[in-house]
């Protein structure tokens, strides 16, 4: 009997131990993250580079670009490594320091500063200067600035996205309301929503979803147009309590509070993207990167017009990706050469012709407009010169949770927007102070 007891006790303790390890495993060990092979070099001088990507819609284009490069440089082959968006950064974090990350890393503006600071990305400044890329002439300034940290270039701009209003023609036709037009003011945009509402949309159908976390497509732009700000220039202070910031957000929030948008809870149950594709919202503010998805479900049934202006300005938020090179690559020369080539007219033309994203290079942007002749893609390009980069710093995800907590309460009409913004400001300033102290 005693033996049995001991055995059970041992079993229990092992289970507890296992329990702690399970939680501990994620605590920072890199053994959990799958490591990927870096470059391999075979005896005949052939080099194989790896390139990390997260978008399966774009992987074929990336492969096409890689193949074109290999044609010119027969000793170099490039293999793409697809990781889904949700795991991409977690995997990259784990593999970056173990220098087992891919040689070429697809980077976005929100992460570049952090990765550059941690010494994971190679400084491309000199390589760019020596090459004939002429980045400052060939790429939009906000994008280059986005990938320049402390005066050093860490990424070759790949593509960018801006936003527009996507509208479901069928809903407008059924409601007998005129389609939205390019260059509407915010008041006119709201009027369209009201007209739709007055025309009597079917039950469960709304004029436009304005989600709490849709800042990139909706309220950030109007905050900037209204001379408000989210983060100040040197990332030391949040601008949420600035009356101009609040004024930029309020009209969007009013659409929700006045029932012209589905409620926050409805959008938590079904995300607005699915609502748009399911014909439950008449209009949706979204980025050009969604076109391939929408074309799969509703090709020909939707149209695109430019975002409403605010305060007389057509400010938009631009976001874009870049190709960065891992600082730990075993083939720095080849990897840098390939990254620079990816910014060339040849490479960006291949990308643009696929019609998935807008190539970052100025002389390749127009190609994109022709890829979907039935859609007015020009609106995405028109926005570039008035576009602001997404606000970003090293603690973006932590700030996002603060914003979530209080904006949700405002979205559910539990507190006023002003109260929410004041609370956000206080908490974010504390987080920013901690960040800057490090």
């Amino acid at each position: 009997m005693k033996k049995n007891l001991k055995r059970l006790a041992a079993l229990g303790l092992t289970a507890v131990m296992g329990a702690a390890v399970l939680t501990g495993c994620g605590g920072g060990s890199s053994s959990g993250g799958s490591s990927s092979s870096g470059g391999k070099e075979s005896k005949d001088g052939k080099v194989e580079l790896t390139m990390a990507v997260w978008d399966s819609d774009q992987e074929p284009v990336m492969q096409e670009m890689a193949a074109a490069y290999t044609k010119e440089h027969p000793n170099v082959t490039v293999k793409t490594q697809l990781t889904t968006w949700t795991e991409y950064w977690t995997k990259l974090e784990a593999s970056a320091m173990g220098n087992s990350s891919a040689d070429i890393i697809t980077m976005n503006v929100l992460h570049v500063e952090e990765y550059a600071d941690a010494g994971i990305l190679m400084d491309l400044t000199d390589a760019e200067k020596e090459s004939d890329l002429k980045a400052s002439e060939n790429f939009p300034a906000p994008l280059l600035n986005g990938y320049t940290v402390d005066g050093k270039l860490y990424g070759i701009p790949k593509d960018f996205d801006t936003n527009a209003i996507f509208y479901n023609k069928e809903i407008f036709d059924n409601a007998k309301v005129e389609y939205p037009k390019d260059g509407m003011t915010f008041e006119e945009f709201r009027k369209v929503c009201e007209d739709l509402d007055a025309a009597g949309l079917p039950e469960g159908t709304y004029p436009v979803p304005v989600n709490r976390n849709s800042s990139q497509t909706t309220y950030y732009a109007s905050v900037y147009a209204n001379d408000g700000y989210i983060l100040n220039e040197d990332n030391t202070e949040a601008g949420w309590d600035d009356p101009k910031t609040i004024e930029g957000i309020q009209p969007w929030l009013d659409l929700v509070l006045d029932g012209l948008s589905p409620s926050l809870e409805q959008m938590a149950n079904t995300d607005p993207d699915s609502m748009f594709q399911g014909g439950q919202v008449a209009m949706y503010l979204s980025g050009n990167y969604m076109i391939p998805s929408y074309n799969k479900t509703m090709e020909g049934k939707y149209g695109i017009v430019s975002r409403p202006t605010f305060n007389g300005k057509n400010t938009d938020i631009i976001n874009g990706l870049a190709f960065s090179v891992s600082a730990f690559t075993e083939h720095p020369e080849e990897a840098v050469d390939f990254a620079l080539w990816l910014g060339s007219k040849e490479a960006q033309t291949i990308q643009a012709e696929a019609g998935v994203v807008i190539s970052a290079r100025n002389d390749c942007q127009d190609i994109y407009v022709g890829t979907h002749p039935d859609l007015n893609l020009q609106v995405f390009l028109d926005n570039v010169e008035n576009a602001e980069l997404l606000p970003h710093c090293k603690v973006t995800s932590e700030l996002a949770q603060v914003e979530k907590t209080y904006l949700e309460q405002a979205w559910m009409d539990e507190i006023t927007l002003e109260e929410a913004c004041k609370k956000i400001k206080t908490e974010e300033d504390a987080i920013l102070e901690k960040m800057n102290a490090k």
């Binding site: 009997m1 033996k3 049995n4 007891l5 059970l8 006790a9 079993l11 229990g12 303790l13 289970a15 507890v16 131990m17 296992g18 329990a19 702690a20 390890v21 399970l22 939680t23 501990g24 495993c25 994620g26 605590g27 920072g28 060990s29 890199s30 053994s31 959990g32 977690t90 974090e93 784990a94 970056a96 320091m97 952090e114 941690a118 994971i120 469960g204 989600n211 709490r212 976390n213 926050l264 809870e265 409805q266 959008m267 938590a268 149950n269 079904t270 995300d271 603690v395 995800s397 932590e398 996002a400 949770q401 979530k404 907590t405 949700e408 979205w411 559910m412």
Partner: protein, 309 residues
């Protein structure tokens, strides 16, 4: 038992060459598991312990900070909430799950037709991917298309958005947890029940005991070691609940997320959303301590009710 006695008192003599050879074979046999355990459990555990005394950034660069992480943990505004949620989760799901598993196990232990069919059905949740389970239940609780609301409305009630309302979201997750645990626990309990000698039941039947008496006076006491095992593993599992919450309550869009935060969700948030891996390591060490204490208490408490004869 007999064999163990022999092993407990080995005859003292020098190991022969043959013995050593046997041992070597033994070691080789356990090597794959041991190496796996060392690499994936022991090493990360030690590393995690070390990390809890460090400031570790997203990229696993550690700087020693002593007890700062633990100091921060005890000032954590969400700590009490997370502990409360975890405790509620454990206290509700484990006993109810156990009760239901016992019920199902005893039903399936009786002579009815198609027991293996029912066993398969009840065991299905345990072999289904937890992600798939969470997604299906998310649809069931959906505010507009969910069958849960459809049922309530058919009965004349008022449906609501269960998963986004802070007061009901955790309850929904617990229902799924109970549903998912019944099958696995049932199999273990059933195995225990079938190990009980029939002679007890025959004797009880001759003495005129009813089914209730038989269940409480024979089945439960003789099953107590198995029940104890189910409670211990259930508690440990409950304290570590994460995946179902994360899958059902979206951290970026669901307004109830902050209210249903458990210890492990707090850990995940800091480790993988914010990149404070040292602090997260401290949270996991804290959890380890709590689980350990609770398990030790159960180990001591079991002397009063677990019957090994």
């Amino acid at each position: 038992m007999g064999e163990e006695k022999k092993m407990a008192k080995p005859v003292k003599r020098k190991a022969s060459k043959r013995d050593k050879k046997d041992w070597l074979a033994g070691y080789i046999f356990i090597a794959p598991v041991t190496i796996g355990l060392v690499i994936f459990y022991v090493v990360p555990f030690i590393q995690n312990f070390w990390f809890s005394f460090n400031d570790v950034n997203k990229f696993n660069v550690a700087t020693f900070v002593g007890l700062a992480n633990f100091k921060q943990l005890f000032q954590e505004p969400d700590l009490l909430l997370a502990m409360k949620n975890t405790l509620i989760y454990a206290i509700v799901t484990v006993p109810i799950g156990l009760g239901l598993s016992l019920l199902v196990a005893s039903l399936l232990n009786s002579k009815i037709k198609g027991t293996s069919f029912y066993r398969t059905i009840y065991f299905l949740p345990s072999v289904t991917m937890s992600v798939a389970v969470a997604l299906v239940w998310k649809l069931i609780f959906h505010s507009e298309y969910g069958i849960f609301n459809a049922m309530i409305e058919a009965l004349g009630g008022q449906g609501k958005s269960w998963l986004t309302t802070p007061s009901t979201a955790l309850g929904c997750v617990m229902i799924v947890a109970i549903w998912g645990s019944v099958g696995y626990n049932m199999i273990i309990l059933l195995a225990g029940m079938q190990g009980i000698s029939k002679s007890y039941y025959e004797a009880a039947a001759i003495d005129g005991a009813g089914p209730g008496t038989i269940f409480f006076k024979i089945t439960i006491p003789l099953l107590s070691p198995t029940i104890f095992f189910v409670i211990i593993t259930g508690m440990i599992g409950a304290f570590q609940v994460f995946d179902s919450i994360y899958m059902m309550i979206d951290p970026t869009t669901n307004p109830a997320f902050n209210e249903v935060k458990t210890m492990n969700v707090l850990f995940y948030q800091n480790a993988f959303m914010y990149g404070y891996k040292g602090y997260a390591a401290a949270i996991s060490i804290f959890m380890f301590a709590i689980i350990m204490i609770i398990t030790v208490i159960q180990m001591i408490g079991q002397k009063k009710w677990v019957n090994y004869d």
